[in-house]
Symmetry: D3
Subunit: 157 residues, 6 copies
């Protein structure tokens, strides 16, 4: 079986180039490309790709990719959420520890998820503290450099 | 100013009938229909309507309504989540108290939100208990009848 | 179909008087008593009754009722948790609002659940505040009187 | 025993007019004013009044009231948190249901707590929904009017 | 003092071979075996061993071990919860990052706890992401192999 | 720009030696000492230092440092919370995994935060488990030794 990353790229390509109206149709496209997957696996793939099913304006519903490149506006909102909420950023091994103002851990964590950084495997938020787990081999310094590209206002403190 | 419900219906109509690519264009459509709203209000309206912004397959991104009528499959999953997780359902005044198995309050609450019942104003989940707040004038019995239509497997206990 | 409360009493009686080793055996006992229920309903009933499945010391496992009357010790611990954590108790309609010290909403809420008060339908905890929903017809004053019986140290403030 | 509200006012007066360095001293002041309370009750009162213990600049620590009147700056931040996070506000009986953008329930709830509105007994936040419980006799409309005084930017939607 | 693991094994043996009705009796058994522990330590040990106190059918209550070997049924439910909820599983160092569908982090985390895997020290769940911490020296690949034994339906993705 | 730690020490010194009534005044003090920071950075610094703004008894409000050395009483309460709630403490790499009794993760986590241990970067609490992330280079054994100094009753288990 080909790897998940290759399959995710293929799904992305199929949805971009065809009008897909059901998981069955998507599965048969995948099969033609050499991927045998279950419905359950496909559901998880669609979740990871943040694929939605949306109206085409004529009472039909088609799968659609999220608007990653274009939607600078909403990115701006998440940057503000991050800057509003965070208090400090520290590292230890593969863990980034972000302290936040009270009640802002969820919104800072949601912002970080939204940035969709390839350096980050996932985040878990408490009440005023977040742990982000870095991908194997990524250092805290590399994460920080990548974060500053996403959040231009982030200061050297 | 016309009421929010009328405005929400109008937004729905505009998105259904036009290819809207930005909030600015949507705002000018709304203005023609007699609604003067701020960008912030429009953002909240789009959130309430669960409007997404999605690819049209040619590198453009347009607003799109969620797939309410067609998507029976995913409704089925939420019904199973509800049946898997709930333990008991009680009422008192405008509050529905749903006890759940440990760790299932969030998934039962998410299912209830997904049912999008007009009887329910909102839900808050603890760890093994959910409160749903009923719309003014809706009785527990009416809620129960409506829920049973959504969750056919729900037993008389 | 007989009511849930009657069925719950019957299940309690069956478990008390017989060595029940599986849900199937329990279901057939229930059938003899005139109750036709599904496995799913039975699971929910056992959860509500806090029934556990435990070793009989000879590698067999039997259903067992929780130790409600005898276990005064652990009740004492929950009373202390309640007294340690709560800050104020107020009422409005069928809702009891209990403010707590930071980080103690969960432990106060768990204590309240443990008291198993018939006046309370359920509780939902935030970070430093709990909502408890009172059974229809129970007043805040009645709840307070019942709570004081459970938590003797509770002061008139 | 005099009522809690009277006692809270008295504590406020004592802390304002004296340099109180310990709970024991505060208890004896209260006693002179006719209040016999335990250390535990006093702790809860201090929590409700948001009293802190702070340095006087000479290595001594005294109780101090929070800065309610003066601190307009930080109020401004909470107003922005509220406006950033909320999606809709509805009522039913004594419950206010506030829907929020994902991950913003905590920050909106913290803002509402910070407004310290006498109409509100307490709030409990889920993931994208908050319940606030209104004081007995306060209507949703009255709450809304009071909220608009606190949050000037709040629109009629 | 002997080590905790040895003591836990001894407690398990005592409860299996005797009818223990109180912590005092259990403490004196432990003493005979050479373990001097406080009541508080014993409470924590009983929690770790998931020991319950249950009716013997004659109004007496005895300590009892959980039904680890026999209760395949309920294991099946947790496997389904895991398969229903998880989206992806990644590793980095000693941290396993499990992404879940919205609202399913708690139920997947509860399932993982229930599997009682010796490779896992503990889990913390956010809203749609779980961190599990692996025992020192256990690799992600070893965890994955162990998990697949517990969750046979888990696919190679 | 000088490092954050130096700046935090300077802020501490300024607040200790002067009556500071506003962020503007504090910023100008900082400037004299050679620190150019924004209002946002200063807010985060004040949060990290747990600085409060409090009444001086004559209707003025001044910044004040928290009472770290003197307030042994409240430290005692947190020690009791920790001892009441924790079940086991394990390590793996830079992660400390603390299991707790149900509903006590938040209170144990709050206690740990309150201890303000320099070995710990931050904590995230689930429902009955806490992860604490240790500073780079700190071992589990070192953490344990430091914790035992803070929590004298902590047993060797």
């Amino acid at each position: 079986m080909k790897e998940r990353l290759t399959r995710l790229k293929t799904i992305r390509k199929i949805i971009k180039n065809h009008r897909i109206e059901s998981q069955d149709v998507l599965l048969s496209h995948l099969q033609k490309e050499g991927f045998e997957v279950t419905q359950a696996t496909l559901s998880r793939d669609l979740k990871l790709l943040k694929v939605g099913k949306i109206s085409d304006g004529k009472s039909r519903y088609v799968y659609s990719l999220p608007d990653e490149d274009a939607d600078r506006e909403s990115e701006q909102i998440y940057i503000q959420d991050f800057l509003r909420g965070y208090v400090s950023i520290d590292f230890s091994g593969n863990i980034v520890v972000i302290k936040t103002f009270g009640g802002h851990a969820d919104s800072v964590s949601a912002a970080l998820d939204q940035f969709n950084m390839e350096e980050v495997l996932g985040t878990v938020a408490g009440d005023n503290c977040i742990f982000a787990c870095l991908k194997e081999g990524v250092s805290g310094t590399e994460f920080m450099a990548a974060l500053k590209k996403r959040v231009p206002g982030l200061e050297d403190e």
